[in-house]
């Protein structure tokens, strides 16, 4: 007993699959060892299967029916819900708005977060305070953030319009969340307020990993700050940046709370996201089949994006940058 346990209890080397020596042991022993190892994963597996996998499979099933949510789904609809999806201007708009938010995030939020990280990576007075302050909104819920900014951007009465009015820029201010053209940029501003500190923290962690000697050597060779940033910081921060882009996209795909408490997707769908559309059809209009098709579409978009991103973008990052597992890359 003891000898097999020692063998079995050894930590699994990272790249080794089920160990070949195990195959030479009697079947009963192998089964028993397998059960020992497996039994540790059972509680998590049950929880995961019941509340994550089952719902997703169930959504897949329901998405082929027209169903109001009560009784068993019986009105089989084939692929109708999916073809309706591709003709639905709101859903297609969701995709477009999601893309826009991702582009804004990659084009503005992440560079800004990076700039702040670089600034705060130096010896600056009050550095710890700034870091703490910039990251603080991340711990607030999107609901609190949303309600706060819905009031700050309230037309005329809110702080934003009052400040602009006070400095004579009345014409710049406006309806914010209530304006079809302004709602998405306003939403993005709020997202940036809440989330840039998160990305900044990732970058700061990445910057700590860049040896100071590299900068020192480049400085001695006469490279200026910008050249050092381009030639050292940016490339060495590559893995972190790629992860932060990934998280931005996943965040945009599932954006719900913030939109729901500020605009509920309006005015006239101009801030609607996939999750909001899903909620509208699922819990307001009781078209569960169609809403399920939306959730499956969301799932596929996340999955395809994640797999493609790992295959084509994260591939070159060192082992361990995303996960230590090969199966996932």
């Amino acid at each position: 007993m003891t000898s097999t346990q020692i063998k079995e209890a050894r930590p699994a080397p990272a790249k080794e699959q089920a160990d070949p020596p195990a195959n030479r042991r009697p079947l009963a022993l192998r089964v028993r060892d397998w059960l020992t190892a497996f039994s540790f994963t059972v509680p998590a597996l049950v929880l995961f299967a019941l509340f994550v996998l089952t719902p997703i499979l169930y959504a897949l099933y329901v998405s082929f029916f027209n169903w109001g949510g009560f009784g068993a789904p019986s009105d089989f609809a084939g692929g109708d819900n999916y073809s309706r999806l591709l003709d639905d201007p709101v859903f297609l708009g969701d995709l477009w708005r999601g893309l826009l938010l991702v582009l804004l995030s990659v084009g503005l939020q992440l560079p800004f977060a990076l700039a702040m990280a670089v600034l705060l990576n130096q010896k600056v007075r009050g550095r710890a305070v700034y870091r703490m302050l910039f990251f603080a909104p991340y711990v607030l819920s999107e609901v609190i953030t949303g309600v706060l900014f819905a009031m700050i951007f309230a037309p005329d009465e809110g702080l934003a319009d009052r400040v602009l009015g006070a400095v004579g820029l009345d014409h710049v201010g406006g309806l914010w969340f209530a304006d079809q053209d302004w709602v998405l940029p306003t939403l993005f501003l709020v997202m940036m307020w809440k989330y840039f500190g998160f990305h900044m923290m990732l970058y700061l962690a990445g910057l700590q990993g860049i040896p100071a000697e590299l900068h020192e050597a480049a400085r001695i060779d006469g490279a200026n700050a910008w050249q050092r940033f381009r030639a050292i910081t940016l490339p060495l921060l590559g893995p972190t940046i790629r992860i932060s882009v990934f998280l931005s996209v996943i965040g945009a795909i599932q954006l719900f709370d913030l939109v729901w408490v500020t605009t509920q997707g309006g005015p006239d769908h101009h801030s609607e996201t996939m999750a909001v559309t899903l909620f509208q059809f699922g819990f307001k209009r009781y078209q569960i089949g169609y809403a399920s098709a939306i959730s499956i579409a969301m799932f596929l978009i996340s999955l395809v994006f994640a797999l493609a991103y790992q295959r084509f973008v994260l591939r070159r990052d060192t082992e361990g940058a995303l996960t230590t597992m090969r199966g996932n890359r």
């Binding site: 346990q5 209890a9 930590p11 699994a12 060892d33 397998w34 020992t36 190892a37 497996f38 540790f40 994963t41 998590a44 929880l47 995961f48 019941l50 509340f51 994550v52 089952t54 719902p55 169930y58 959504a59 949510g69 600034l119 600056v124 700034y130 302050l133 910039f134 603080a136 909104p137 991340y138 711990v139 607030l140 819920s141 999107e142 609901v143 609190i144 309600v147 706060l148 700050i152 009465e157 307020w193 923290m201 962690a205 972190t240 996943i250 599932q254 709370d257 899903l278 569960i288 809403a291 399920s292 959730s295 996340s302 999955l303 995303l322 996960t323 230590t324 597992m325 199966g327 996932n328």
Partner: protein, 281 residues
């Protein structure tokens, strides 16, 4: 090299840096500060005097909320649900991470991949069938209806982080423990978990924050106010007192206070957690 002294030149060069940081700092803090100060005004005062300090200072907005048992009940259920979720997530994830980190067994990679794929599932994807499922189980208007799914969705991240940590603990330690007659479970409970305390702290903090801020699930599960959590309460309050702006500001400030206080205490774990989550997950 001539003219200004070294320190003076350095100070001059860093001025734009400080101005930038200060400006960003002001933009970050203004909304919260504005809410805090506005909470001390009456709504009339707020519309006539939006920028100045309150005169007179009006504490009734804050005291009314604090005197209302509904606010404390909300705080209580948020806490209970966060603690329940965290214990369940971290407990089951630690066991699973132990199994996945310290044993080589058939199907291990498949199982781990299954969990990591879960990292990419937006919560919203499952919300509809989850609701149907919870209704079938009779878990609506029941805290378990929020705790169980939250714990399940928290598993992937927690397992990935803990597994990475467990693998770094040297195998010799386990061999020694086994020779001394320690069963795998004994090793896990008496040696591995105490050693993993920092990692456990980190994943617990992540789980608490995620649960504390979750909105969609408690919104759907709790139709009765009995179990409303803070985000649900905030949204309801906003709807109920939509014209009483100052009161909503006070409510917001009191609602964000616990999260900010928690952040002040657990800053290290939280930041360690998000960077670990991003690099390992």
């Amino acid at each position: 090299m001539s003219g200004l002294s070294h320190t003076a030149r350095r100070r001059l060069r860093s001025t734009p840096l400080y101005v930038t940081l200060w400006l960003v700092g002001v933009l970050m803090v203004t909304p919260i500060l504005y809410a805090l100060v506005s909470g001390f005004k009456s709504t009339d005062q707020l519309s006539q005097n939006p920028f100045g300090l309150p005169s007179p200072w009006n504490v009734s907005n804050y005291t009314d909320i604090l005197a209302d048992s509904a606010f404390w009940r909300m705080l209580g259920s948020s806490t209970l649900i966060a603690v329940g979720t965290t214990v369940l997530t971290v407990g089951t994830a630690a066991l699973a991470a132990f199994g996945l980190a310290r044993f080589a067994f058939k199907g291990r990679e498949v199982m781990f991949t299954l969990f990591t794929v879960g990292l990419m599932f937006p919560f919203a994807v499952a919300i509809l069938p989850l609701f149907v499922l919870l209704r079938t189980f009779g878990l609506l208007d029941n805290p378990w209806g929020v705790i169980l799914p939250q714990a399940a969705f928290g598993l992937p991240m927690t397992i990935v982080i803990l597994r990475g940590f467990f693998r770094e603990i040297p195998g010799e330690l386990e061999e020694a423990a086994t020779l001394d007659g320690c069963s795998p479970l004994g090793f896990f409970w008496r040696i591995l978990l105490p050693m993993a305390r920092p990692a456990l702290g980190t994943v617990s903090v992540l789980a608490i924050v995620a649960s504390w801020n979750n909105f969609l699930l408690p919104l759907l599960v709790f139709s009765e106010p009995t179990w409303w959590t803070i985000p649900v309460g905030v949204q309801q309050f906003q709807g109920q007192y939509s014209s009483d702006t100052a009161r909503i500001f006070a409510y917001l400030v009191l609602s964000m206070a616990p999260a900010l206080a928690f952040y002040a205490v657990a800053e290290r774990q939280l930041i360690g957690g998000i960077t670990m989550g991003a690099t390992k997950g």
